[in-house]
């Protein structure tokens, strides 16, 4: 079927089997291999992308259902010349070892910081109405949908805390 995807500010027309997930459309049909496939079942977060600015698992999303939405992947958050604050902080803090989970971690953290700013509570929040602090416990809970097999968690938390100081978490603020 004919599907139009709006990805990182560009528009792509694709002819896809309805079974194609957004993840496979990105990687196999658009050559955007920044987004990773870990489990393909919603259990690891490696495939995290932003859809309409919100973090989702691309492996459990059909490409045909993503039609009309604005998709942002790690490639759209920043470029090697202009890294997003989170991309920069992951580098500065060694927020990875093998790097396989990293695009998902950064996409997830980008949206997670916006959820914090919007005043969303988490399971770790003492009070549902805040105030919410970027404590270790809050970050661990809010980022629990992103597993890291290398267990770079300590540095991931540090990178996120450092990046939170800067307000605009992404290059393409659209």
């Amino acid at each position: 079927m004919q599907i139009t995807l709006h990805l990182n500010g560009a528009t792509h027309d694709l002819d896809l089997d309805p079974r194609t997930t957004l993840l496979d459309a990105l990687r196999h049909h658009l050559g955007m291999t920044g987004t990773k496939k870990g489990c393909d079942h919603g259990q690891c977060g490696a495939c995290t992308v932003l859809m309409g600015g919100r973090r989702i698992n691309a492996c459990l999303t059909l490409a045909c259902m993503a039609q009309d939405a604005q998709i942002t992947t790690i490639e759209g958050l920043g470029s090697p010349e202009r890294l997003s604050p989170l991309q920069q902080q992951f580098l500065d803090h060694d927020g990875f070892q093998c790097g396989y989970c990293t695009p998902g971690q950064i996409c997830s953290a980008t949206a997670m910081l916006e959820e914090m700013e919007a005043g969303w509570p988490s399971h770790a929040s003492e009070n549902l109405d805040g105030p919410f602090e970027l404590s270790h416990a809050e970050i661990a809970e809010r980022m629990s949908g992103n597993l890291c097999r290398c267990a770079a968690y300590a540095n991931i938390v540090a990178a996120i805390q450092q990046a939170a100081g800067t307000t605009d978490h992404r290059e393409d603020a659209a």
Binding site: P18, G45, T48, R55, N57, G119, P121, A140
Partner: protein
Amino acid sequence: MREFTYHRAASIADLSPDATIIAGGTNLLDLMKLEVMAPPALVDITHLDLGGVEPEGEGLRIGALVRNSDLAAHPVIRRDYPVLSRALLAGASGQLRNMATTGGNLMQRTRCPYFYDRRMACNKRDPGAGCAAIGGVTRNHAILGASDHCIATYPGDMAVALMALDAVVEIDGPTPRRVPLADFHLLPGDTPHLETVLEPGEIITAVILPAPPGGQHRYRKVRDRASYAFALVSVAAVIATDGGRISHAALAFGGVATKPWRDPEVEALLKGSEPSDALFREAADILLRPARDWGENQFKIPLLRRALIATLRDATGMETAA
């Protein structure tokens, strides 16, 4: 994944008994990838006008397409129905909650590992095939509400809180109707493939909450890791006290039963009584009277007892360490 046709519904009239509804997709696509579910036709309802959280009478009407993350963060839910926010926030991950819908969450299927493995006999997947879980590894399975045909738990968190809030499910279809959530999920009996009263061609359009119950709200979830895991045992509690006595007690349980579980006898015992450890132990005795284990899940019996007592102590202002 088996082939299917995809259709984006423009109105409720586009639904048909032959097409399976897809909303967030987080449960359905998972099961379709494993071919545990293989619907020949999907109808995407995410563009229908079924969002929004609106006042209805003294309560609220929650649209079936409201995402779990939006519902948990909704100011009125946080203020008046905090047990629901807490249950939602204890489920899945930030990403999944952004996708998962209110309707889809109610309809989520069991996490019984034999149901997920097509090489195994499963009455739920394949009626009449037998149940590989009975006599197999039962650590995840139910201690309440099971039958000789199926011992799988209802895995969700949201519905457990909704049970304690006396929620009602609004259904559209050939005969629009409203069904109390307590009557929505079915016990497995000898038809474990039938999980709810929803008929083919019907759709959940909303969940209705009655007036805010007040009192203390708790959702206590015990799981194998601190986050991003299904409940081994969960307790939703809405408890009010008046003049040193319990004036309102609504308790529902997850992870332990074949459907979101509520026991009127437990609540009747608590209502009008003074909070005490002796009372809470008696409540646990009543709750566990029908409990039955299948070996590995034996631990859920003492775990449920302790989780209930700890939740009651907490909600009535007693010290939490029993």
